[in-house]
């Protein structure tokens, strides 16, 4: 790739733009609640991370942002007595409940088209998401290039909606205490700031994660009554309008069975006989929800598991259970895209367009040299695909390519 001077020129350029952004936008920046109780952290374009910082005022924070122009800005979901002390001496006082919904965790058909990886030990490369181990050398470290994409972000939004239902209907949390953000790259963050959840320990948070992800669900405790010991069978099932997980299970199972094909039923490991029974009774099922006769207990378990999967929210368990987690600060730029972390409205999130709302640079054009980039959309326009080409692009679009490392300023 580019010679050293054009690389450092590119870095200078990006950093300059970030500084310009913080110069211009700092008045609009909203600090996290109880700023003085939070740990702040910054990743730098020069490499390295600065952690354990404490700010008592927004002014202090914004002047640091202007001076430092960091690639990423984080704050702790936790509240501390001494946010600037070492981890052991911070004095944990509680933490917001946070969820990360990452498009990378959700398989989409287009990732093959726009994502790629290179093995750092042997240089082997491929399309899509990096494998667990390199097929050539078995190595486990990869340079991954994931792309910002409408199609990939859409299912993430669906996960957010499912999560919100859990938080409000089941956990009884108030919508006023919940904020949803587009992270500026590949997913959504959901923050709950409330006295109710602040004191939850890691174990309790893990139970919440299991609850929203459908992990450890025992169908017998959710309306699937099983009778008989020698030849057990399912004698009743939850109803579509039941509350909580019962209703979810019923709906998930109904949803799965009503469009199931022989292949998808084989896919969950059902025996041929059971599949025949299900397909034969399907019309009846679509007319009214009820128990299918002749499906054994094991079969029901598999079907219910699938049903639960459809209704659960796919969050990253590590983020939610980590009570010291640093998360991106709203209103700051993502170092891989130069897009802002922006709030999405709770009602009307369906119509929220992350690739429009997150744009931080509305003006100017930049000419850059692009090595290779797939087609992408930003706001109302689409760009690319590009290959080894000088192009003039609006600042925001150019910055995405520069930040992703697929283009340089000559």
């Amino acid at each position: 790739m580019g010679d050293l001077s054009s690389l450092s020129r590119t870095l200078e350029f990006i950093k300059g733009k970030f500084a310009e952004y913080y110069e211009r936008a700092s008045s609009k920046l909203k600090p996290p609640s109880s700023l003085e109780r939070r740990e702040l952290g910054f990743s730098l374009f020069e490499g390295g991370i600065i952690r354990h910082k404490r700010f008592t005022s927004l002014d202090g924070l914004t002047s640091t942002l202007k001076a430092l122009a960091p690639s990423d800005v984080y704050y702790s979901c936790a509240y501390y007595e001494r946010p600037d002390a070492t981890m052991e001496e911070k004095g944990w006082l509680g933490a917001d409940l946070t969820f990360d919904i990452d498009a990378d965790r959700i398989r989409t058909a287009c990732e093959k088209a726009h994502d790629s990886w290179v093995c750092t030990s042997c240089g082997a490369a491929g399309r899509g998401v990096a494998p667990g181990a390199c097929p050539t050398c078995n190595g486990s470290k990869f340079e991954e290039t994931t792309w910002l994409c409408d199609v990939c972000l859409e299912p993430a939004k669906a996960e957010v909606l499912k999560l919100l239902e859990f938080l409000v209907d089941d956990l009884g949390l108030s919508e006023d205490d919940i904020d949803v953000y587009f992270s500026g790259h590949r997913g959504y963050h959901v923050h709950v700031e409330s006295d109710v959840v602040r004191g939850l320990d890691a174990e309790a948070r893990r139970e919440v994660v299991d609850y929203v992800m459908g992990i450890g669900l025992d169908i017998r405790l959710h309306g699937f009554e099983i009778r008989g010991t020698r030849r057990p069978r399912v004698v009743s099932c939850p109803k579509l309008d039941d509350v909580g997980w019962r209703g979810r299970l019923a709906k998930g199972v109904y949803e799965f069975l009503s469009i199931a094909t022989r292949e998808s039923l084989e896919g969950i490991g059902l025996r041929d006989k059971v599949i025949d029974i299900i397909l034969a009774q399907r019309d009846q099922l679509l007319k009214g929800w009820g128990l299918l006769k002749g499906v054994d207990v094991n079969g029901w378990r598999r079907i219910a598991k699938k049903g639960a999967e459809l209704r659960s929210a796919n969050v990253d368990p590590v983020v939610t259970t980590d009570v010291h987690r640093l998360i991106r600060l709203a209103g700051t730029l993502h170092g891989k895209t130069a897009l802002r972390k922006v709030k999405a409205p709770l009602s009307g999130i369906e119509g929220f367009d992350p690739l429009k709302e997150a744009v931080a640079f509305e003006r100017g054009e930049v000419t850059i040299f692009v090595y290779e980039a797939p087609e992408f959309r930003l706001g109302e326009r689409t760009y690319g695909p590009f290959k080894e080409k000088m192009v003039e692009l609006p600042t925001a679009a150019a910055l995405i390519l520069l930040c992703k490392g697929v283009a340089i300023v000559r």
Binding site: S121, G132, A133, C134, C137, N138, G139, S140, K141, D169, D170, L171, G172, L173, V196, V197, G199, L200, D201, E203, A204, R206, E207, V208, V209, D210, Y211, M213, G214, I215, G216, L217, D218, L221, H222, G223, V243, G244, W245, R246, P317, V318, T321
Partner: protein, 347 residues
């Protein structure tokens, strides 16, 4: 609040000496540590000693004095004794014993009394107006925060939040279940009580009794540790989760971070020497001796914080997707190490 306070009798305080009111009662008596050798406290000291003895020997307190004052006063003194002995394992054991004692008494109480007890611990709890759900008497409704604080340390599928009914933040519960959760609250409360920073000087007589109890504890603990995991490592008794990671690693395949931590801490805890564990990772293409040694020694407690880590429990491994190919033994254990012990017994 006032009304609830009135309903608690002195006998209640004797049954539940951890209640706020019981502590206030003791405080009002103005008892001094240096007076404890006084003959007037003979009965109280005897009873405190009995509490501790039962906890050491059976991990439950069953006996009871029918003198309410003795019962109430012996509790803070037992706490003083355990704190003086100072062993963390004993502290946990004592808290557990008091919790079990409380549970056995709570189960027999009526619903009003249960409600008062729960409110004493500041729970958000009410009578459930629906009452019966699917034929079961869900008389109570408690906030999920209070539920989780206590339920996470109770074993069993039915205590997982996901296997509960949860409506707008509230979990409907039956009386026995509330009693069980309360017992857990008691356990945590007693554990916290035992965490005293400054210990008073005990008068001679009491100090001597404490020494005898310490000796009793040391003897019992010695017996228990003989039952620990045997030295020879039996790979065929590894649980499925560990075995999967183990085999992948033998094949030189990379495994996720959580799996690697689980595997390493498991091996260390069943007695595999640090060097042998490091050798296992040699097959990996990006093996780095220094890094690996650092990590393994850290987990083995030979560095830094000097604590030896144990593998995460099954429920955690399930959350992170490490739990695979569960078998019959898995269904009765909550921890990969208990799986190993259990399987060894079956062999």
């Amino acid at each position: 609040m006032l009304m609830e306070r009135m309903i608690l009798t002195k006998e209640d305080l004797a049954k539940y000496p951890f209640l706020r009111e019981a502590a206030e009662y003791v405080e009002d008596l103005g008892l001094k540590v240096e007076d404890l050798d006084d003959f007037a406290y003979e009965q109280v000291i005897n009873r405190a000693e009995e509490r501790v003895q039962e906890a050491i020997l059976y991990a439950i307190i069953t006996k009871r004095s029918y003198n309410n004052d003795v019962e109430i006063l012996s509790f803070p003194i037992a706490i003083l004794i355990i704190s003086t002995i100072g062993d963390n394992f004993l502290k946990r054991r004592y808290a557990l014993a008091e919790a079990k004692r409380a549970y056995n008494l709570l189960k027999l109480e009526n619903e009003e009394k249960i409600l008062i007890m729960a409110k004493n611990f500041n729970w958000i709890i009410s009578f459930n107006d629906k009452g019966v759900i699917e034929g079961l008497p869900y008389k109570f409704s408690i906030h999920f925060i209070n539920y989780l604080k206590n339920a996470t340390s109770i074993k069993g599928e039915k205590w997982k939040l996901i296997n509960r009914i949860l409506i707008e933040g509230n979990v409907p519960l039956m009386k026995g279940e509330v009693a069980r959760l309360l017992a857990e609250e008691v356990r945590r409360y007693v554990e916290k009580k035992l965490d005293v920073k400054e210990l008073p000087n005990l008068p001679m007589g009491l100090a001597r009794r404490v020494e005898m109890l310490r000796a009793l504890f040391t003897r019992e603990e010695g017996k228990a540790s003989l039952e620990e995991v045997p030295k020879a490592v039996v790979t065929s008794a590894f649980p499925p989760c560990v075995r999967a990671s183990y085999e992948m690693t033998l094949l030189g395949k990379h495994i996720p971070h959580v799996s690697r931590f689980t595997l390493t801490s498991f091996l260390i805890n069943v007695g595999v020497p640090v060097d042998k564990v490091i050798d296992l990772f040699r097959n990996l293409s990006d093996f780095n001796e220094r890094m690996t040694r650092y990590q393994v020694e850290h987990i083995a407690g030979e560095r830094g914080s000097r604590v030896r880590y144990i593998p995460p429990k099954c429920s955690t491994l399930r959350t992170y997707g490490v739990c695979v190919n569960v078998d019959e033994i898995c269904k009765v254990v909550q921890h990969p190490l208990s799986y190993y012990k259990k399987k060894l017994q079956l062999k």
